[in-house]
Structures are given as C-alpha cells and as structure tokens.
Amino acid sequence: MKTNDVILQFTAKIVFFIIFFFSIHIFMAGHYTPGGGFVGGLLTSSAIVLLVLAFDLNTVRTVLPFNYTYLTATGLLLALATAAFPMFKGKPFFTHYFDYFDLPLIGKQSLHTAMLFDGGVYLVVVGVTMTIIQTIGEDE
C-alpha cells in the first residue's frame, strides 16, 4: 500500500529534532527539577516512533542502525558501573559524588555521578521501548 504522505513525512523530519532536543533538555534538567533519564528516554523513543509512523520500520532502521538489545545492555552496564564504582573506594554501593566545575561557554556548573547513572537509565528506556515497538511492528 502506498499513500501520499508528503506532509506527514516532511513535518516528522523537523518535529523529530524538536522532540529529540527537548528530551535532552528534560534529561539534563533531571537532578533538581522534574525530568531525568526515564522521561528523557521515553521522549526520545516517542520521537523515533514518530519517524516509524511517518516512514516505516526498515527506513528508520537504516537511518538509525542501532541494535537495541545491545543498547539496553550497555545502558544497564553503565548504570551498574556508576553504582558499583564507590565499592572499589570502600564506600557503600550507590554512593553519590558531585562537585562544581567551571566549564567553557556555560560557566559554573555542578556535575554529578548520578547523571551517569541516569544516562544508563536513558539508554535502557530507549532500548527496551524500541525493542518492544520493533517486535510488535514486525508482525505482518
């Protein structure tokens, strides 16, 4: 079946980036305000789902050639590594480190190890959601 969906495809290409960058913003906002890895991950995957709706699974797979299973595993590894890192310094599991740094362009910012953990969560959420959607979508 071939339908004429020029407008949908054209809009999706632009809106994808809007949603994607907003999800990054939400991800970064996570520590002190609402947001974080889980919501960010869901937003990102919803952006990818929009692409899947506008085009189709195979096209999206060529554009974003990730193995989502590996993505999930990598995310889990990142989260576990962040949590387990303090064990090697004699601190309890999950101990959180943070400090303030002067970064170029954006000035003084606080950096947290929690963000690495959140990054892991983000990858897991994207990986799992996309695996589910691909698996359901593949069935004819």
Binding site: Y70, T72, A73, L80, M87, K91, P92, F93
Partner: protein
C-alpha cells in the same frame, strides 16, 4: 558498612548484561552463565561463613543514615537461602544443556536466569519493604520471559494465567505497602518492627497483616490462592519448571516468614492462627492434588503445595524449635524439589510422555535412575536419615510445644500421603511391564541430564546425613526469627 553482601546479587546481574551480547553464540552463553553462577556461589558461601562468624551483615546504600536509606541485610536466614538458591541454579543450568532447546538458548534464556537470580537473591537480602517489591518485580519480569519462551500453545495458556495473577498481586502488594507506610511512616523493615511495637497493634495492623498474607500467599501458593500454580508451572519446560518450583514459591514463603516473625508478632491469636489454619488447608489441598493426577509433572507440582503448608505451619507456631524446623524444611524442600523435577525430567525424556499410565519397566534399562529416584522420594517423605526427616521432626516437636496437638499429628500423617504420591510414580514408571517408549534416547544427552541430577540427589542425602553440622547455622536462623530484637538491633545500631 560492608559491600561484600551485595556480591551474590550483583554478580548474576552483571553476567546477565554480559550475556545479552553475543546471544547467538551458544558456547559463550553456556560458559559465561555457569561462570557467573559459580562466582556468585563462591561469594555466597563465604558470605554465609562470615555471617556465622561475625553476626548480621548490613549496608545502607549511598551512605545515608539508617531508616532513610535503602538497607540490605544479610542475616543467617537470607544467607542460607541465597546460598541454596545459587547452588540449585548451578545444577539446573548444567542440566538445561541437555534439556532446553537451542532456540530457547539463543533467545535470552540465560540472561533470564541471571536476572531471576538477581531478583530472588535481592528479595532474600533486602531490608526495605518497598525494595522487596522491586526485587519481586525483577524476578517476576524474568519469570514471565522464561515461562513464555518457546511460545508453544500450552505455554501461552499457562503463562497468561500466571502473568495476570502476578500483576494483580503486585498491585495489591504496592497498596498494602502504602497502607503500612501510612500507619507507621517508614519503609525500613527493622524500623517498621519498632514502630508497630510502639503503636500497640491497632486493628489496622491486623488488616495489613492479612493483606500481606494474601499478597505473599499468592506467590507462595497457600490454600485458596494456589489454583493458578499447577497449570502455569506444568506448561514450562523442565529446567524452568525446576527453577520455578524450587525458588519462586520459596520467595513467597520467605516473605511471609519475615513479615510474620518481624512485624506482626503482637496479635498472634488472630494472625498466626489464621496462618496455621491456611497452612493445614494447603496441605490437604496439596495431598488431594498429588494423589488425583496421573501426570508426573502435576504430582510433583502438588507436592510443592504440600511443602508450603508444612513450612508455614512451622512458622505459625512461633517458637524456636518450630522455626528451626521450618528453616531446615525450607532448605530441604528447595533441594529435594529440584532433584525430583530433574529426575522426572529424565523420565519424561526417556519415555516421551508425562502420563504415568503410558510408562513402565524403566528399572530394567535404567536401574541407577530408579534407585536415585527412590532415594529422592524417601528424602521427600522424610524417612530418616534422609533430608526431610529433621525438619519435619522439629516442626512437629514445636507444634506439640505450642499446644497444637491434633494439627501436629496431622502433619505427621500427611507424610504418608506424600510418600504414597511419589511412590506411585516409582511403581508405575519403574516397575511393571516394559512399555514401548516413543522418545529417542541420545546417550550423550542422557549423561548431561543424569550427572547434575545425581549430584543434587547426593547433596540432599548429605543434607540429611550431615544435619548435625548444619544445626549451628539453623540455630542462628531460628534464634533470629524467634527474637526480632536481634535483627532490629543489628540494623538500627551503628556500623
């Protein structure tokens, strides 16, 4: 502060992730799965010895002070259960090499087992009631994967029931935890025990106790709530069935034991009498099921239900002897159920059917299998000196001490029915006329199935004969269950 007690949880988790890479490579999957469980087992055994020498171990995540952070507590009860879990899983995975199909192995079977271990060990170790819920979910998610894996018609029918029941019970669990939180204002289990002691058990706490009994009872399969278990479990392939039968109901039993010996110890005449009545009803229901079916899988599955009743009867007596018996019987039951499932797995492999009436005369061709089955059957029924004996003796002794005369005698009598139900398999399958077998027996596969099974049977024998050496461990566990202040002090006071 001691990260060591986390290793039996983290190692399977880590290996689960490692296994998600390279899922098509069978050799890689098998090696790393066994390696991971082996490493975790070593750490669990050293943890067990450490707990024996230095008392209760605990750690609070993220350096937070105690009632606010998530605490993980490894006491004798949990250390024993964690070690047994890993021991059984090691042999079941090995057994699975010959039994599980290659398609399943390539589709996240081993990561599933690793994550189930993470959940089970975590649930045994956690000292935070909400965290208990989280670990329950981890093990349930992985068990959903394992039960549907393969997608046969019978499996899908069994699993939909399993998933529905567990989703409902999980929702009820969160509601109950919220109830409890609204009453005592804390989630740390030791802190909850203290706060419940302070508020003098109003009616609402009894309500919460009964709600917890329902939630954990669904998982442990106590009397009215066991209906889902036989068909769901029977659908899974043998190694998965073994894992479920040996581990998952035991997590429910552990959770009931923990909450009923730590939190709800002020209204014994209501909560514990209810538990006792349900335990006895569970035994009756299990016996009926075990005697009613001609399907080997279902017979052993109903024996799980009977054992749940026996253990919870011990818990409901609330004295040190009965609790010690319950601990003895709990570990015994995990080992012996694994052994029995593995044995009937071999029988099913040889005959190609699970219907007793179509089997017969296996004794001629497979005498070793027959004898080991007989040993396991006697062990299950508790014929001394095999492993079921000590636990049941102590439970009954505790029952007499608590004044539950008739119900204790009933427990003793139920052993005969258990024996009858498993001997029936022996009579039908191993004795009698030799019948045509449909299955084709590959010598190599048979050995892969037989060796781990024999080792598990030998472990159960050693567990019975060597119960003398295990007594100090069980004593510690029973003391801790009988006197909540040991647990509370260990968690609440300093590092």
């Amino acid at each position: 502060m001691n990260n060591f007690l986390l290793l039996p949880i983290i190692i399977p988790f880590f290996f689960g992730m490692i296994l998600m890479f390279g899922q098509k490579n069978l050799k890689y999957q098998r090696t790393f799965a066994l390696l991971g469980i082996g490493l975790a087992l070593v750490s669990a055994i050293s943890l067990l010895l450490k707990v024996k020498n230095d008392g209760v171990q605990k750690i609070t995540f993220g350096d937070w002070p105690v009632p606010y952070g998530i605490t993980m507590v490894s006491d004798m009860v949990s250390a024993l259960l964690v070690t047994t879990t890993l021991l059984i899983t090691f042999f079941v995975v090995w057994y699975g090499f010959g039994s599980i199909t290659k398609e399943r192995e390539r589709f996240f079977y081993y990561p599933g087992i690793m994550f189930i271990l993470t959940g089970v060990n975590g649930a045994f170790t956690t000292g935070d009631i909400f965290n208990l819920f989280v670990f329950f979910e981890v093990l349930l998610m992985s068990s959903y994967l394992l039960i549907v894996l393969g997608g046969e018609k019978q499996q899908l029918m069994g699993s939909i029931k399993y998933i529905l029941i567990n989703v409902i019970s999980s929702a009820l669990f969160v509601i109950t935890v919220a109830f409890l939180y609204s009453v005592v204002g804390t989630l740390n289990m030791a802190d909850i025990a203290v706060k419940i002691g302070e508020i003098d058990q109003p009616g609402i706490v009894t309500v919460i106790a009964v709600l917890f009994l329902m939630v954990f009872g669904l998982k442990a399969a106590i009397f009215p709530l066991y209906f889902w278990l036989p068909t769901s479990y029977a659908a899974a392939p043998i190694p998965v069935l073994t894992l479920f039968g040996a581990l998952l109901t035991k997590v429910g039993i552990y959770a009931i034991t923990r909450t009923y010996t730590l939190f709800f110890v002020y209204d014994l005449s209501y909560t514990h009498d209810l538990l006792m009545a349900l335990a006895i009803a569970t035994i009756i229901a299990g016996c009926i099921g075990a005697l009613a079916y001609f399907d080997v899988k279902l017979i052993i599955i109903y024996n799980i239900v009977i054992a749940v009743g026996v253990i919870l009867f011990g818990v409901s007596q609330m004295n040190e002897i009965a609790l010690k018996g319950a601990m003895f019987y709990l570990i015994h039951d995990m080992l012996i159920k694994a052994a029995l499932f593995m044995l009937i797995g071999i029988v099913i492999y040889i005959t190609g059917t699970s219907d007793l009436r179509k089997m017969g005369g296996l004794m001629k061709k497979y005498p070793a299998l027959g004898w080991f089955y007989l040993i396991a059957a006697f062990g299950l029924a508790g014929i001394p000196p095999l492993s079921g004996f000590v636990g049941k003796l102590l439970i009954v002794q505790g029952g007499f001490q608590a004044g539950s005369m008739w119900s204790s005698i009933f427990i003793l009598a139920s052993s005969l029915l258990v024996l009858l139900s498993v001997i029936r398999i022996f009579l039908y399958a191993f004795w009698g006329e030799e019948k045509e077998t449909k299955g084709t027996v590959d010598k190599k596969v048979y050995t892969t199935l037989f060796v781990p099974t024999v080792l598990v049977v030998l472990i159960t024998v050693a567990y019975g004969v060597g119960s003398e050496w295990l007594t100090p461990f069980m004593d510690d566990a029973a003391k801790l269950l009988n006197d909540p202040s040991i647990y509370i002090d260990a968690v609440m006071k300093g590092d």
